[in-house]
Symmetry: C3
Subunit: 208 residues, 3 copies
């Protein structure tokens, strides 16, 4: 229940983030809605295609498409005003990343024979690939591959969730504690600009 | 029958458009053929993957690959001459967009439980995603997200088609009337440079 | 057996090539591992999705993910030293291209009703699409569409393999001879800079 509510809020937030990127790339209103929808629902879509889990979420629940399209249109109309809610977006995006991850792990776990590492991996795909597809369509190197820790939060959340469930502890406790951990770490990462190590580009000179 | 003939002509036209783009990007003949094939068959492929509809069209009918590869090679050889047929291409492309959409809706309708909005959406994916994948492979922001109304024509065509069928009217009437409407609107859009509204990029400043 | 050993070595080599590209694009260690994994396992993943062949290889064998991630991390740490092994990489990459192709043909052949042309095509997808996805994620026009003959080697290898099997000749002979032919042609192509024909860009002027 809680997770589902967070999910619906999060797809709207992701749709808005996608829409803003579409505006910045000078797209028309169709493009803005499409980028918003891809940003919001792309992660779950990629996950379901990777495991052959049909029908896709938004095919079974067309209202999800309605939500993301409405959110994208609102973003396009109210873009200037949204500026004031910038930090609210970061918070909702963090919540969404963690909720997407847990939902992704749950769906992967419904396939009996998946290794725990694959479950965590598919949770990460759910959390991260929407933004990745958004950036590919906007002709950018995906931010998630370069940004302060983001995908790592997803991996951490998924690992904790799978671990707690492995100990046969109640599902609600697993959900709440991994939600809380992931969310806190992500907010701290934003606040203190935590980044994963990067390599010196000079070191690969001569490989072109 | 009519639809199938239009389909075969349209995949050749799309393959030629893809091939010309490949030439412009300095690709070799393999790249030119691949981009042409993706432009022609990519939309249907994405649709089938999204709904788990196997085997894919070109897997069941390898001759489609033959057509698109031949069309791409012809385009590569006769590129300079094709210049004179520029407006013919726009007409065939418009026909193709509309035919792809109707075919996509038909395949989606063969899944009993799909909501009409999903059927229209999958028709649009069929019509539009070939060009979108072509542009992603050529490292461009997809034209379809920024161009004079194109995807919207697809949505309009699909909606009319689904609506007429919903009224239990004969399938041929549904096909012909939505084909005609979509085709006319697309040609008018090209002629008069109809565009969807776009947002002022200044309004999203500060979101980077 | 031989093929499987080559496969494991090849996915590590591809993961390293992906990782080096990630470093060059200033990605963090997560991005480096993801690009490496996509480069190594992306081709087989695309093939399996195109034919609905589940579970995917790395879902059934999570250890493949372990190999590619380790290889990517090693590449990130030892990037400067890898420089000295540049030509070794080209050799392993050539072996990988050919091995991927044959494995891809084998899996496609397990679907009884596939046309030989589709089998060869799916072998090529297995060999080539990992590098293609890597380049799309790194915001480059895929090298494979422009480079000295690479995909063509894959098509040649697959065609020979399918042809020999069609003649009812022993599978091991088919594997070995197509492996050898493809590998030699690829090395010769690198050595003598063989390229497929390219078209003069001037010829498509006026099509923009």
């Amino acid at each position: 229940m809680l997770l589902h509510t967070i999910y619906l809020i999060a797809i709207c937030a992701e749709a808005i983030s996608g829409a803003l990127m579409g505006i910045r790339k000078d797209m028309d209103i169709f493009g803005i809605c499409l980028i918003g929808t891809v940003a919001a629902l792309g992660g779950g879509t990629v996950r379901d295609i990777l495991i052959g889990h049909y029908p896709l979420g938004w095919v079974a629940h067309p209202e999800y498409l309605g939500f993301t399209i409405c959110a994208a249109i609102v973003a396009a109309v109210a873009a200037r005003a949204l500026h004031h809610f910038k930090s609210a977006f970061l918070v909702v995006d963090a919540l969404g990343l963690v909720a997407f991850t847990i939902i992704g792990c749950d769906i992967a776990r419904s396939f009996d024979n998946f290794h725990p590492a694959i479950v965590v991996m598919l949770g990460m795909v759910t959390g991260v690939f929407g933004g990745l597809l958004r950036d590919v369509l906007c002709n950018e190197i995906p931010l998630v591959l370069r940004r302060e820790i983001y995908a790592s939060v997803s991996l951490l959340t998924g690992s904790l969730y799978v671990l707690i469930l492995h100990w046969q502890i109640d599902g609600r406790i697993a959900t709440l504690s991994s939600l809380l951990l992931g969310f806190s770490v992500r907010l701290l990462a934003i606040r203190f600009h935590w980044e994963l190590p990067r390599m010196d580009k000079e070191r690969v000179r001569g490989f072109d």
